[in-house]
């Protein structure tokens, strides 16, 4: 039986809706809604989480992330400049560092810093330093590669113009290249921040006291105390409070830089 293009499209769409309706009906009939509500939307369990889920857990997650991102950015900039250096050993060192920390799980870095370093060197950092160093080490590897790409994306004409005005190589880098590189990489950098926000949950491994709880640990303690999944769901929603706006920000910046470049092209064309 030959169908016209329109008939085929209508049939295809009809089948998709039918499957959707079937799944909803099956869920409504067979799922244990009382149990689900009790597990995920337990008001009593939820009420035990406030206000600390915001005042302690969410705040700590943000603090750990920001500390890690700041260190990652500083270290990442140094690594990016090393990768672009004319001194070969600098390039090798940066490449080894970046490949190493991009290639291993962040979990391993947290275990090494939380347990390995204290045992091996008898060095003990407070939790904020540990978080900053661990997240910074992991983040800097990604940020370095992003920054290097950004620096190389700045047109060579910009450097020639700066040098022809008498700026030194360093001055050119600081005044002309790096500011423009940051504009180019703002969208991917925002994505790095989202990844670091989620990675900050790994700190829960290190044995935190109550004031140091971040969202994942806080949710887990809530689960232990109430036997309900609600605290976990709550912690998840709190991550979304951070990550969803950042995601929108990243897409907004991407559109904005994209449009700017279009305008730039139009002018030179």
């Amino acid at each position: 039986m030959a169908m016209s293009r329109r008939q085929r499209a209508q049939t295809f769409r009809g089948v998709q809706y039918a499957i959707l309706v079937l799944v909803v009906v099956l869920l409504a009939v067979f799922a244990d809604w009382g149990q689900i509500r009790h597990a995920f939307f337990n008001v009593d369990a939820a009420s035990t989480q406030f206000p600390e889920v915001f005042s302690t857990a969410l705040v700590n997650t943000i603090i750990y992330t920001v500390l890690g991102f700041a260190l990652g950015l500083a270290l990442g900039l140094v690594l990016a400049l090393m990768k672009l250096s004319s001194v070969a050993p600098y390039r090798w060192l940066a490449t080894i560092y970046i490949e190493f920390f991009r290639g291993i799980p962040a979990l391993l870095v947290f275990i090494a810093l939380g347990y390995g370093v204290p045992l091996a060197f008898n060095l003990r950092f407070d939790i904020y330093s540990t978080a900053a160093i661990a997240l910074g080490l992991v983040g800097s590897a990604y940020i370095a590669e992003t920054l290097r790409a950004g620096i190389q994306a700045v047109p060579p004409g910009q450097i020639e113009a700066a040098r022809s005005l008498g700026m030194s190589q360093t001055r050119t880098m600081l005044t002309v290249v790096i500011p423009q590189a940051f504009r180019i990489i703002l969208p991917p950098l925002t994505n790095e921040l989202i990844l670091l926000t989620k990675d900050s949950s790994l700190i829960y491994l290190l044995g935190l006291v109550r004031d140091e709880y971040e969202l994942a640990k806080f949710g887990r303690e809530g689960l232990n105390a109430t036997g309900s999944l609600t605290p976990i769901l709550l912690a998840g929603l709190c991550y979304l409070i951070i990550t969803v706006p950042l995601g929108y920000l990243s897409r907004y910046l991407e559109r904005r830089t994209g449009r700017k470049q279009d305008e730039g092209l139009k002018v030179t064309a």
């Binding site: 910009q158 020639e160 022809s164 008498g166 700026m167 002018v267």
Partner: protein
């Protein structure tokens, strides 16, 4: 003070195995306008870029304003302060406003105060007819306006000589005139200029001296009326015929 601002002698430059400049001698006196013409690939842009050492010559010397740039111990950044350069692609700093484009090097390189550098910048913007664009960003300007800002930026360093590398080649035809007018005005004010260009009419009317380059050497040089009006060498004649009568280039 010497009256020769730019003195190039025995200049050689090669990229890999390709010899681009094969022994160039050139001198530009104070207040002189020298235009370099020639087919693409003749090495004229490379010669210009060697004058402020954006390209490093393989042999030969470049002396600008009594300062030998080709000396390995020369402070190249200091020398470049006196050599303004205008590029084919404008190369305005995209993250800075027009005004900041003009003040940034004055402040960071010449260590002028914010007030002084802004006053000098505004004066130069007025000179190129774009004072009202001080707060604009480069992307908001037309190509012709961007190039005039680029000229004002170079002038703000108060250079002893200005280098122009095909300043109108990337412009829409109707915008070329504004840029050439600014350059002509500069020449009339006595600026020493070295201009690589395809604008034969500009060369003829403004240049004190014209160099015709082909294949990495200076084939012919002299007053504009002679080199463009009555060229002696066959290569110069062929080139000018092609440029001036593009529709009948092959006749």
């Amino acid at each position: 003070m010497s009256d020769v601002i730019v003195e190039v002698s025995g200049l050689h430059k090669s990229f890999g195995r390709l010899d681009v400049l094969k022994g160039i001698d050139l001198s530009v006196a104070r207040g002189e306008v020298v235009c370099i013409i020639g087919p693409s690939g003749s090495g004229k842009s490379t010669l210009l870029r060697c004058v402020n050492l954006l390209e490093e010559p393989n042999a030969g010397t470049v002396v600008v304003n009594g300062f030998e740039l080709t000396d390995p111990d020369a402070d190249i950044d200091k020398a470049r302060r006196t050599i303004g350069m205008v590029f084919q692609g404008f190369n305005l700093f995209g993250h800075l406003s027009v005004l900041d484009n003009l003040t940034v090097a004055q402040r960071k390189v010449l260590k002028r105060s914010a007030a002084e550098s802004e006053a000098i910048a505004r004066e130069n913007l007025r000179k190129v007819g774009l004072e009202e664009k001080a707060r604009s960003m480069p992307v908001q300007l037309s190509g012709g306006q961007q190039q005039r800002v680029a000229i004002a930026r170079a002038l703000s360093m108060q250079p002893a000589v200005m280098l122009f590398d095909e300043p109108t080649s990337a412009l829409d035809p109707e915008l070329v005139g504004d840029v050439l007018a600014v350059m002509r005005q500069l020449a009339e004010e006595g600026m020493t200029m070295l201009v690589v260009t395809h604008e034969m009419q500009f060369a003829r009317e403004v240049a004190d001296k014209v160099l015709f380059m082909d294949g990495g050497v200076v084939v012919e040089e002299g007053p504009a009326a002679k080199v463009i009006g009555a060229p002696e060498h066959e290569r110069t004649q062929t080139f000018l015929h092609r440029v001036l009568n593009p529709v009948h280039a092959n006749e």
